[in-house]
Symmetry: D5
Subunit: 162 residues, 10 copies
């Protein structure tokens, strides 16, 4: 378990997020729960939970029920604010300005053609889906320090022939 | 081993790549070698090899020696063309237009704030290094089809206090 | 059959296209073949053929063989120039400047949220794939004049739950 | 009939939409009506209805009357908010960030020149109108899964000779 | 008849124009013909002729024949270079940098909403076509000096109801 | 006289317009007056009136007096809100997203160099003024339908020699 | 000690800063403290303090305690507003418009490749970290006037070999 | 003295550099000289020398003479290629894509307002000159590793009062 | 003395200006004072005064005292709102949309390289300071009409040699 | 007379300049003439001459004759290369990267609204023409150093009333 503080939402970010985001983040702060803890409680990966909090993933009826109980948010309130289909991509301006997120962008910029070449050689002409997709974040520690490991896993979609 | 053709370099891409790229890709094509095969031969990961071919990674003297032998490129020629420090980021215009690379960009756009929140909770205030960093691509097959798995692993760098 | 001239490639466009494009367009012009005629000859839709000519689709070995015969291009030449994996999206700068292509862009701009809402209501949270995808162009004539009909058909991909 | 929830409007999107949008979406949500159901009730295609809700299409006096009755919005209120000429294109920033809408943009980016070549060969020099235009969304199911089909149909307009 | 020199093509502009442009402009210069004179000779408006020279309009077979004779360009050469469908919009980067063209852009920027309001009031919801369209330039002289008058005339296209 | 509804101002557009715009548009709507009717009443062209409503033209003291009477706006109120010098160009983001306004932009993009060449041949080196300038919109009807005609008339300004 | 007034926060900048910024700046103004004075009081460099005020650096619990005491801000208030992880980069639009900040940008623009070449020669292939990083500002005075000296000091990170 | 290879110029970068750059870099490579060594030989800082090689600084007649001798470039050749006034800023596209240079850009982005506040408090209203300016790069080694130190020193220019 | 109305501030511009701007402009309007009149009263050039009103120049304590008296603004109010260091460049988006300001931008665009060449020949390698700088606007009348004359005067700063 | 070297043209700038530019600059270099000297010889201001060399101003037949004689360029060659109408604005990308030209851009950015306010108060609603316009550069020396003075003088054009 981490000794670090939990992630919260600064009020100045609210205008670019869906109406559900401040509701969720306030409750998370009040309960002092990490995304990992919430994920374990509702049976989803912590990255998916964080994406849901930022309006980047859809909540199922079960998610809503569990989040409502865990976070003490009235079910009707939460259900109303999470009822729509996510309008993804609004929580971040590209290119990212925050250094942590920029590093991910830089990895795409620097290794993008290499990934493409290797993926094409392994799978042929197609793409790795970002929809039929899951991801996770892991922490590894060795004598050189701490390492972050991000795994991206997506279904391979070959181009249709027509 | 893959049944797919190998990745080659279209001549129209040459102007935005370093002088070493066409030399390397032509030899790769002549030998019909995948990046995986080259990586195994020279002891480096295939993504690193592809990055090196696109001018996004530096070759060590041993890399140059082994590539020269493997690809039948005169050592002096290869050494001269790979002698500089890479000027990274030039092989790709952002946002990426190719759908395969765009999907990686989209993952950053959609999950960027979620990754940041989860990483901050796990590690504190800092970034995952894209320099003290390695990556790999794997292929998984199950009854639903083929899956691409990309792993990003970077040293965690906490912000200095000053 | 159309009474209109066939589409050709202006030399000034070559620098932003793959090396196969001028080869293919010159042979098409010499044979005076429409994309419809080529598509019928090789068993592919005319839009796919045009996309292949612009470097936006991959040719199978059979495609290469048939195109080589139909267009009198030496098989080795054509095979060499079409051997790579397409680096898609390079043939067009966005937003499109040509009025015909701009109208398609405008349809996305004006109806994009409406398509999203209707698709979400019909299919749930997900996307219409642009990879597992086919398209066609048809001509309809009635007493008001000529009508172009473009059909886009893609596999529905629901977001994975993780 | 779909088992999926209906599309609603997140409050954070209101500033970039006309004043009629929140009024219409709130009533739609209260009645729990899909765009398909509304379209059938007022005799218009569901995509046109969704476009009207997003301020991308004009409502006729009959549309206003029927929507007022169907959605229990006072006629004067609805009439006042829908009385202007649509200022189209404001509901979406380009390039689209949401993956569903981006896929449509990507289709234009990748197939734009192919569409142009095929349309020119079929119709000559001109454009497919996006004004004298209709569109529809259909769902097809086969043993491979669900497929979305979008049809674009526009009048062909040849360039005037002057 | 004007006492001013004729418009010519600077060599540095050639890369962004179709292959027909330098051929046409060189012949125009050799014959010292204004666009007005060419327009009269081939029966087209001078703006249409200039647009044709810049690759923004299509030449009919009769245009090609007459231009070939008037400009002493071999018919086969001219026909080959003018045979494609124009890829419009490539001759100008927007916003325009040249002050003369910028003034036209500024008129759209400043009066755009006013034109829209007035056109909507006169015609209803729709657009003035830029395809079913003609334009002309006239010179007027009065005691205050010289005045340029540009007329834009396009078919009114009402939005389809669907 | 037109059978079409009059142009009104959607509330969501107010933030990018001067303070006078909502005052004027509300009064126009209350009186149900077209710009043509207002223009006739105050002795100005309807495009100039619409530009004035959008903050793109200056009102003279007589204009303010007449508008105040015609629209039943207290003179002091109107005078205060129209007293400044217009800060032009703020009512429209370029490139325009609305199809009607985009078509005008497209005309500049496609015909800009042609206009320049023809104007230079007729007038020499200079520009058509967009300041010492007037414009009007006319409607023409023939057996092919309705046509919009926009006239731009500006003083020719030759470059000074220094 | 400086005779110059202290830096304050204009109210119009608040929307792009985190919620802690106005709280901190108001207290700083009330106490009339320079960043240098605050830095000395809490044991941090003045640039780090200013970055903290702009939401570009994280406050430790001790920082919060000391700032609370120094600035007479209730500890709970300050702690709540500074509890999140900084979302860096939001306080400045690039390229910078303010001349002072633009000069720093210009230094990167003009000397960027020179810094890279010299750093590569001194350290090999890698980067100077902006995370494991400190900076300071000093004032020097000589007979030619006043000089500002900014020092950037970052850990050298060599690219990993993989 | 460094054990690292020297910086060289990749041929693909030549088009965006002045004519003197390839001449200088080729000679540097032939002599295998670092910028530090060249700087010592001609009496200038190594960053200034690198800037001169990239066309970002002017060479004095003495610089040209010494460089000519040191690098065995005919004086007349070097003098001709270095005779112009530098057109600065052309060697780098902003934002920088290379990670090393991006980190410097990121420092400006993240600390820009902090630098401004601290400089204003120390010096009043003005800027640090980037013209009356010098810079240097130093290497420091401690038990945590290697550190790069960049010093920026510029004359303080107060805003004139007028 | 001018017969023209004075410049005022439209309320819709307030969000992008510092808090002092509306205070100053309202008082100016109430007193019906031109910038010329204010400049004479406080002993500064009218352009500097206007820049101060737009937050582009700093007010000295004497300026604040005199403005307070002249404009009947309580000294404490004005002092508080003008106490910060200007964050310049925020009052204008570039490229400018207003035609008057665009003409200045166009002069830089068209004559920029010419100014550079002439200044370099007169002064050597350096810049004209925009900080150690003053400017003024004058009106000249001759038989051809009215002429505006803008003078820019800045200290020449030669590049430091290091 | 200046002791500074004359301005020359770096070969890498040629592609964005008209065909006349290298011809003129080479001759200028061979004759070692400053723009001031050329201006005196042909009776035009040095800024106008430099603008002419960069393709930003038109040469009269007398200019061509005098330049031909002064620079020893065959009259037919020069006449051919200078015969077109200038396509202005191509010699500079905006925003300018070179610090000297950027300072002029910054002056417009910082003082643009102030100039507008002052000009409007002096002249009413209109613009200072950049066409009916002249400019000059002067050098002033006092005990504080050298000062550059740039004068912009343009005809005032009031907006037409229509």
């Amino acid at each position: 378990m981490s000794q670090h503080p939990i992630a919260t939402l600064d009020a100045s970010l609210i205008p670019r997020l869906p109406a559900s985001s401040p509701t969720l983040f306030e409750a998370k702060k009040a309960k002092n729960l990490s995304f990992e803890a919430i994920g374990e409680a509702i049976g989803r990966n912590e990255v998916a939970v964080a994406a849901l909090f930022y309006g980047q993933a859809q909540a199922s009826p079960e998610d809503i029920k569990k989040l409502s109980e865990l976070l003490d948010i009235p079910h009707a309130t939460l259900s109303a604010r999470l009822s729509g289909f996510p309008d993804r991509g609004r929580s971040l301006e590209m290119p990212p300005k925050d250094p942590l997120v920029y590093r991910l962008y830089e990895i795409v910029q620097n290794y993008g053609p290499a990934y493409k070449a290797v993926l094409n050689e392994k799978f042929g002409d197609g793409i790795m889906s970002a929809i039929s997709f899951s991801t996770k974040v892991e922490k590894e520690v060795d004598d050189k320090g701490e390492w972050a490991k991000i795994t991206l896993r997506g279904k391979w979609l070959p181009y249709s022939r027509f």
